[in-house]
């Protein structure tokens, strides 16, 4: 890429603060008291099931919906009352939303035209933006002559060419097939990092959120359930919803058991208990309280039976590459999944009764 082109597009991301945002449609609270603070140059993903309010938050930040309550600040400036066109926010839509009657270059020049930038300045910036998304030489093409991936690159270039301090993306890769989606994930991440852009990215694909985002806001029913780094979300989910929504997981029924100053967890349908360490919410716990234990399949080890420790009957072994998924029937009747190395699975056969083990500080227990 030519070095001059690099200078022309250099976004300086600004911090974003959404405070106490509430938006209702009739009786439905699409967004319910959401507060979200995004740092300058940070990539934040809004992750949640359909109807959880992700798009509504984005539309409110962009200025297409007015909040019932709450404020939006970009770079310390309150923009809640500004019309969309005056917010200086770049937006990328799921279906690209390119202008069908304009060429690629005209599309990218549109935000410049709206800012009364024309002539050679505009042409140079359009060239730079095209180079940025690796579409040099495509300026004269019509939109209909581009593939889906190329169209989304044009949409990216168009949203970045005027160097907005904040970029919003609503499932920008939702319309692409899997391979292209993965390629574009890397591409967007590369651009965001290089340009230092602040990005709020809506997706319901957890893999996408985990690989791309600095932090993830997991949403359900219009509320943020947890806002943390991908690792924290995965390892220390704040509640049952997050635990179940992000990643594969075992949620094992049972109850809490006090053990002096410490706590143990007794699996339903048995007297077997496991130790608990490093849990967050112990304040509200009582002895004998019903609870669920969350443990990721890759943390579960399968071994010999030990007295007083959980065990179960191996019902199925599924080979998938280097690992084996081992389905174990617990005494309660529920199924637990262990993902173990192929080498460790050598001694295990269907019909065996095996002991189950996991690190006491890597599981999460939620009062149910």
């Amino acid at each position: 890429m030519n070095p001059k082109a690099r200078e022309l597009v250099s976004i300086h991301g600004k911090p974003v603060a959404v405070r106490g945002l509430t938006k209702a449609y009739g009786a439905v609270k699409a967004v319910d008291d959401v507060t979200l603070e995004v740092n300058a140059g940070e990539f934040v993903a809004l992750l949640g099931p359909s109807g959880s309010g992700k798009t509504t938050i984005l539309m409110t930040i962009a200025g297409f919906e007015t909040p019932d309550i709450g404020t939006i600040e970009v770079g310390g400036r309150d923009i809640t009352a500004l019309p969309a066109g005056k917010r200086e926010i770049g937006m990328v839509f799921q279906r690209y939303a390119l202008f069908p009657h304009m060429t690629v270059a005209e599309n990218i020049a549109f935000p410049l035209k709206m800012r009364k930038i024309g002539g050679r300045d505009a042409a140079a910036q359009v060239e730079a933006a095209l180079a940025m998304v690796r579409l040099e030489g495509y300026g004269g093409r019509r939109i209909g002559q581009l593939s889906g991936g190329q169209q989304q690159r044009v949409a990216l270039a168009r949203a970045m060419v005027y160097q907005p301090p904040l970029l919003l993306m609503d499932e920008p890769l939702g319309a692409l097939d899997k391979n292209l989606r993965e390629e574009m994930q890397l591409e967007i991440k590369r651009l965001q990092k290089k340009l230092g852009a602040t990005v709020v990215y809506v997706t319901h694909d957890q893999g996408e959120a985990l690989t791309m985002a600095n932090r993830i806001a997991v949403m359900s029913d219009g509320r943020i359930q947890q806002f943390a780094t991908p690792m924290e979300i995965y390892d220390r989910p704040a509640n049952l919803f997050v635990a179940g929504f992000v990643g594969e997981t075992n949620l094992i029924d049972g109850e809490l058991a006090r053990d002096g100053a410490a706590w143990r967890f007794r699996l339903a349908g048995s007297a077997d208990t496991v130790a608990l360490e490093g849990q967050d919410a112990v304040d509200g716990w009582r002895d004998g309280m019903r609870a669920k234990l969350m443990v990721r399949p890759e943390l579960v080890r399968v071994g010999p039976i030990r007295d007083g420790a959980p065990s179960g009957l191996v019902e199925e072994l599924i080979y998938s590459g280097g690992t084996v998924v081992c389905m174990v029937r617990l005494p309660s009747g529920a199924m637990a999944t262990a993902r173990i190395a192929a080498a460790d699975a050598a001694g295990v056969t269907v019909g065996d009764t095996v002991g189950l083990e996991w690190p006491a500080d890597r599981v999460r227990v939620f009062a149910a």
Binding site: A62, G85, R87, M91, F99, F110, P111
Partner: protein, 270 residues
């Protein structure tokens, strides 16, 4: 398209032959009377005759030099163009309001605006005459323009709103996020993208006005007559081959405009 039809479907069956035969028959019955006016307009006789004994452009010259015919033609053209301009603007604005603006009120406005389509034209014409005589615009240029506009605006609204429904609304939002105001977004993005529909609507509006005989029959005064009205008069008093000339020219003109509308529709993404 035709090339992709599998060859076994080419085999000629009796049913297919009958279908083609009857379709052809219907076409002939529909088109023949219209086509007949062409040779009639080229006949040298003083009266309408078919088939003509020889061919001449005499009556075409007559039409172009007769001040009354020319005036009627120009009046119709002027009215038609004014109606086109007015209804394209008003109709497009109404369509925008119906599709984008009004939450819930869209269907009501839509029903109101398109009502002239279902009211019998003659009922409408009588009502317009009574109303216009009261306010004193009957027979005036603007009287024609307004009366025709009410008849023409439904076509614009229907055609433009159909195009707006097809057009992805997020494109308009994208324009706004890129720095455009709502009006700029519509002006720079939405309207250019639905240009073929605007042109088609305009053509339908023009033809609605240009072809109208019913309303003109009620509104026209003795001096200012539109072309279709003038044709009626001609028919009543002295049936000259100029009538066939006008009919021929009208048909060709209308065909050309419809052809243009059709072309715009099929090439709208070109």
């Amino acid at each position: 398209m035709a090339a992709s039809v599998p060859s076994r479907q080419r085999s000629v069956s009796l049913g297919r032959l009958l279908l083609v035969f009857f379709a052809g028959l219907v076409l002939v019955f529909l088109a023949l009377p219209t086509i007949v006016v062409v040779p009639v307009s080229l006949s040298p006789t003083e009266y309408l005759s078919f088939p003509p004994e020889s061919l001449t452009l005499r009556w075409y010259g007559e039409f172009l030099t007769d001040e009354k015919w020319v005036r009627a033609t120009l009046l119709s053209l002027r009215i038609g163009l004014s109606v086109t301009l007015l209804t394209t603007i008003v109709g497009t604005m109404a369509a925008l309001a119906i599709v984008r603006g009004l939450r819930g009120g869209g269907p009501l406005v839509n029903a109101l605006v398109t009502a002239p389509l279902v009211i019998p034209t003659i009922v409408y014409a009588i009502a317009i005459l009574l109303f216009f005589s009261k306010i004193g615009v009957s027979g005036s240029f603007w009287g024609f323009v307004f009366a025709h506009s009410a008849l023409a605006v439904p076509y614009v609204v229907l055609i433009v709103s159909a195009a707006l429904y097809r057009f992805d609304a997020s494109t308009e939002l994208a324009a706004q996020s890129l720095g455009a105001s709502r009006v700029q977004a519509i002006w720079h993005v939405t309207l250019p993208a639905i240009r073929p529909a605007l042109a088609t609507g305009a053509i339908f509006a023009f033809l609605t006005s240009f072809d109208d005989a019913t309303v003109s029959f009620f509104l026209a005064n003795l001096n200012d007559v539109t072309l279709p009205r003038k044709m009626f008069e001609n028919l009543q008093f002295f049936v000259s081959p100029v009538l066939a000339v006008v009919a021929t020219l009208l048909t060709l003109f209308t065909l050309a405009l419809f052809g243009a509308a059709q072309w715009l529709r099929t090439n709208r993404n070109g």
